[in-house]
């Protein structure tokens, strides 16, 4: 809602500047989004008169002008050639900031001091309609009636400021100037001066219409419909003051009749529509459109209506789309002699649907959507009558008012004590009384209990708490002290699952991976590839098609991020995300889907080059190491098995991850055939489902005592075929080593000379230790050779010399 300060001043005494008023309103709960000063750029521009023109002593093309700017005379040097002594011109004085951003400073031109600048139309961003014809050649020359010394913006009628109110849906009343004035009056403790028709319970006395009826066919959609019949219509322009106010509010002036309906809408909040009475055949019907029914609206567009569109029609054809746009046929034209001016209620839901569907949103539809004051419908026509008469635009002769439903007036009980308790402020009865007086609400009070009569224009006030807010905002939210809740103390802590997620994130970040957050909606095809097409949940209204389904895998989002980074020359990427995937069980969804929390990672490239560190390749073993670290952190026995699905991952470089025989995810290099699609070379990924992981984590640690007896270390290097699984060899070693073999690690893997082709050397370090005694070299040697024999037998291994 755009509020003209000039207009507002007529409705309430104001002693604040536009900015101060904006602050007052904002602190009072009516947010002012912007204050537009229409005079901006003209603050130090005044109307002056050329007293004398002399040639510049040192420059042929310059003139030195003595200019009378009211209280003083200034000297200005100009290059303009279109001036005559006695001309009235706009003068930008020193300190002016012109609309074209030019700042005026005192300057010297070839030795002569210039105390400002004479302005052209272009410098003032004005069009050709202002000033004399001579203005085109240089300086804007005003008529000789222009008052010397007057501010130029004021002269143009631009001294107004416009407050742009950002209204919440609970305050549609402030879509009317009278209610904004009431609000300002309440917040500043002034009495408003409103047209009498804004007061409650005003009666408009006019003869009742007899030559047609209003027929409301669906009283759910229209509670009340009033028509004012006007005769002797004289179509003309509306007066300048009205046009100025309409323009300030963003409404285009058309003619006196349309302007009056718009003006009263802005003033009183009730949308009005004027029909040419002589185009109406028979009765006026308020009815839903019939199948296939068409209407040409005011904008000349023929529209086919859907069946629940609410129409205003006569006996033979539609006259307008109720609350949204009138019909071209019944439009007021310069030949119109008689009018029917409509003031009505239409269902906000119906208007919203229609205006959305037709793509027509207007000041009127906006007000109907937010809800209007049904009680005021006829009083508003009283205001129309006054303006029609004052402007000589027509003669109101009769009224018809069809009422189907009138919301009852509300009474709310407000308790001083309860209000004090809820707000946490010790309030006096007198303070609440003062608030209700400031709001101009009627009330009765008995020992701190107020019976408050709610005016019909405040439809937002329904319960006691609503009035508490009125009390709080009028006495000021700053009066609320700061306290802390007095109830039982509580201990704040994360649930074990929340703690698990937090630790998981920490482990991964400490492993050197960067956390990313991606959109949970994604491209259907990529998600189907990595997740499950069957379980995908499509959005009805996605932002873009490529954000069309809820993800069933985190992988595509991460691959996108990796690819984007690589494309930007961030070549080395190691990233992870913890987030939900979404699993629909049926199409379309009948119940809420399962949300499955997962962690996934993508790595490509290698760790940074550094003088101390060998770069680590981001490959299978890199991610496997991170997974092993994770398993260690949470005490999980994670198993890596040969991957089953081999179409997405490199068959020789991938694994499925198992926890106690349950598959919880996968790990591997993406299949070479997919590399081009993603623009990534040798990217490795993993994805894990977290709920199973969480169920299996170790929650407490049981400590083992440290053995008192010394350990004996042995290294064992064997040569096996390249296909031989290191894990299998290790398992055999463990089995043969028995209890005394405390630890086995692989410390070297080697292929190449002198190892035969298709073979590799595996070097193990074995630690033998007993918790009961000191081991002898002999028994360890015996165990070691048994182990060697065992793996020679099972794997055809050779001891490496």
């Amino acid at each position: 809602m755009k509020v003209s300060l000039e207009w507002l001043r007529e409705l309430v005494d104001l002693d604040q500047s536009a900015e101060e008023l904006a602050e007052t309103l904002t602190r009072g709960g009516i947010e002012v989004e912007n204050v537009e000063n229409l005079n901006k750029g003209f603050e130090k521009v005044v109307i002056g008169e050329i007293v004398s023109l002399t040639k510049h002593p040192d420059a042929d093309r310059l003139l030195v002008c003595a200019v009378n700017v009211g209280l003083e005379e200034v000297t200005i040097v100009t290059g303009a050639q279109n001036l005559l002594t006695g001309d009235r011109i706009p003068v930008a004085l020193v300190g002016a900031n012109l609309p074209n951003d030019l700042s005026i400073r005192k300057s010297k031109l070839r030795g002569v001091v210039s105390q400002g600048m004479l302005c052209s139309r272009e410098e003032l961003l004005l069009d050709g309609t202002i000033g004399l014809d001579r203005s085109a050649e240089g300086i804007l020359i005003l008529p000789t009636t222009a008052p010397i010394g007057e501010n130029f913006g004021h002269y143009l009628g631009l001294e107004d400021s416009i407050l742009d109110l950002e209204l919440y849906p609970n305050r549609p009343d402030c879509l009317a100037m009278v209610n904004v004035a009431r609000e300002v009056a309440s917040l500043t403790r002034k009495k408003p001066h409103l047209p009498k028709w804004a007061e409650q319970n005003q009666v408009l006395s006019l003869p009742v219409v007899t030559d047609f009826r209003i027929i409301i066919e669906d009283q759910e959609l229209c509670w009340r419909y009033a028509g004012l019949v006007v005769e002797d219509v004289h179509i003309a322009s509306s007066p300048e003051w009205m046009q100025r106010r309409l323009k300030a509010a963003g409404v285009r002036p058309i003619n006196n009749i349309v302007d009056i309906t718009n003006y009263v809408m802005l003033e009183m909040g009730q949308p009005l529509h004027a029909f040419d009475r002589d185009k109406i055949e028979g009765d006026v019907h308020v009815r839903p459109a019939q199948p296939g029914e068409k209407i040409v609206t005011l904008d000349g567009v023929e529209r086919t209506l859907q069946t629940h569109t609410l129409l205003i029609a006569d006996d033979s054809q539609p006259l307008g789309v109720a609350g949204v746009m009138g019909g071209l046929y019944s439009e007021v034209t310069k030949d119109t002699k008689r009018l029917m001016i409509e003031s009505a209620h239409f269902s906000s839901v119906s208007i919203r649907r229609t205006s959305r569907r037709l793509g027509l949103r207007s000041e009127a539809s906006n007000r109907f959507e937010k809800g209007i004051d049904v009680s005021g419908i006829v009083a508003v026509l009283g205001r129309v009558c006054d303006l029609l008469t004052d402007l000589g635009a027509g003669r109101p002769v009769a009224l018809v008012d069809e009422v189907r439903h009138l919301p009852s007036r509300r009474q709310i009980t407000l308790s001083t004590e309860h209000t004090s308790t809820v707000l946490g402020i010790e309030l006096q009865i007198s303070e609440i009384r003062q608030v209700l007086e400031d709001l101009n609400f009627e009330y009765k009070e008995k020992s701190g209990l107020f019976q408050v009569e709610i005016p019909t224009y405040r439809s937002d006030l329904e319960i006691e708490e609503d009035l508490m807010e009125e009390v709080a905002r009028l006495i000021g939210y700053d009066r609320i002290p700061t306290t802390l809740p007095q109830g039982d103390q509580t201990q704040g802590r994360r649930t074990p699952e929340q703690e698990f997620r937090r630790r998981l994130r920490k482990v991964l970040a400490q492993s050197g991976m960067d956390e990313v957050l991606t959109y949970t909606f994604t491209r259907a095809e990529s998600d189907a590839q990595w997740g499950s097409a069957k379980h995908q949940i499509p959005l009805l209204n996605p932002l873009r098609e490529e954000l069309g389904v809820m993800r069933t895998s985190l992988i595509p989002g991460l691959l996108d991020v990796a690819a984007r980074n690589v494309a930007r020359r961030n070549m080395d990427v190691s990233i992870f995300e913890i987030g939900n995937t979404y699993w629909g069980e049926e199409q379309p969804l009948k119940k809420l889907p399962r949300e499955e929390l997962r962690v996934a990672a993508v790595a490509v490239g290698k760790s940074e080059r550094h003088w101390r560190n060998q770069p680590i390749s981001y490959d299978f073993y890199y991610l496997k190491g991170i997974m092993e670290g994770l398993a260690l952190e949470f005490g999980l026995k994670l198993e890596f098995r040969v991957a089953e699905n081999q179409s997405l991952l490199h068959p020789g470089r991938s694994a499925d991850l198992y926890l106690q025989n349950q598959c919880v995810g996968f790990l591997g290099e993406i299949h070479p055939s997919l590399e081009k699609e993603w623009g990534l070379e040798r990217a490795v990924i993993f994805e894990l489902e977290l709920s199973t992981l969480f169920k299996r984590i170790r929650h407490t640690v049981r400590a083992h005592s440290i053995p008192r007896f010394p350990a004996i270390l042995r290294d064992l290097a064997v040569v096996v075929t390249v296909e031989t699984s290191a894990e299998a060899v290790m398992a055999k070693i463990r089995k043969l080593g028995g209890d005394l073999l405390q630890q086995v690690e692989i410390f070297d893997v080697y292929t190449g000379k002198p190892i035969p082709e298709d073979h590799k050397s595996l070097a193990f370090s074995l630690r033998y230790q007993s918790i009961e005694r000191t081991l002898t070299d002999e028994e360890v040697n015996l165990l070691n050779s048994r182990i060697l024999e065992g793996i020679q037998q099972d794997f055809g291994a050779e001891r490496r010399k």
């Binding site: 904002t26 919440y168 609970n170 609503d466 109830g487 991964l508 954000l547 930007r568 961030n570």
Partner: protein, 348 residues
Amino acid sequence: MDLERVIYLKSEILRIREEALKELRELDSPEALQELKVRVLGKKGSLTALLRQMGSLSAEERPIMGQVVNEVRTRLEQAWEERSEELDAMALQKRLATEGIDITLPGTRVARGHYHPLTQVIEEIEDIFLGMGFQIAEGPEIESDYYNFEALNLPKEHPAREMQDSFYITDEILLRTQTSPVQIRTMEKLHPHLPVKIVAPGKVYRNDDDATHSPMFHQVEGLVVDRGIRMSDLKGILLNFSREMFGESREIRLRPSFFPFTEPSAEVDVSCMLCGGSGCRLCKGTGWIEILGSGMVHPKVLEMGGYNPQEVTGFAFGMGVERIAMLKFGIEDMRLLFDNDLRFLQQF
């Protein structure tokens, strides 16, 4: 004869002493030192050999000579000790002089990943409220119309629904537009238990995409329900939060606002963290920055959650994590947060 012998022995002892002391001054390694010691004082050393020859001396002369030998021995041992210490000190000096490194070279790199800035902010918010005795609650991101709107006093066709452009899955199921449905879910689960004291962080979704809006973003919801909860308690808790989050000297102010699920409602501004309240570019000259919406829980919402609004009251608040992260880290464009450029992420 004896006298001659005594003189000879004495002169030999002195010679050995002088030679040993000279050599001692000249040698420069611990090995040479040891070798000299063996050569002079060892079992087969020159001084020991001399001592053996004393057997031929008379009983009167023997102790005199013995004393001489012992004095020399003590003298030499002392000299050895001193020289040994000198050599150690020299060796240390030499080591120190040769072992310098370029301490300006960078240290061994230990891999370190980065939390996403939004995660950092969420954890920080959680920690602040955990410290004030709040629990962390969660709810589904795909919600029913009932929890997302209706139970929050936003019946179908309520004009306030227009404030939020929703992503729909069916007429009745949508991506939650706010974390507020967790209020209802928590109350349903906990009632009639008191007090309810939770924060609920999570993803929310609205059909919007520009420099200040992302279709997916994060909120943290807060809810306190108990007997006798006052609006001043809301202010107290949020003042604590703001000071923890933005600095000890922050102040807050409440402004009337509107949310369908709170009444009275308040927008909360915090004094500008950049200029401290004097007005700057960040706060657009006002000295205040809007950080969250809040209010007293609407009686209908308490009822929907299973609590009797005659007996209990509550307050609720909700904040945008992206906004707080942008304020905290000085991020100008929200889209950076979801672009996931590593050069951006690795700053945090």
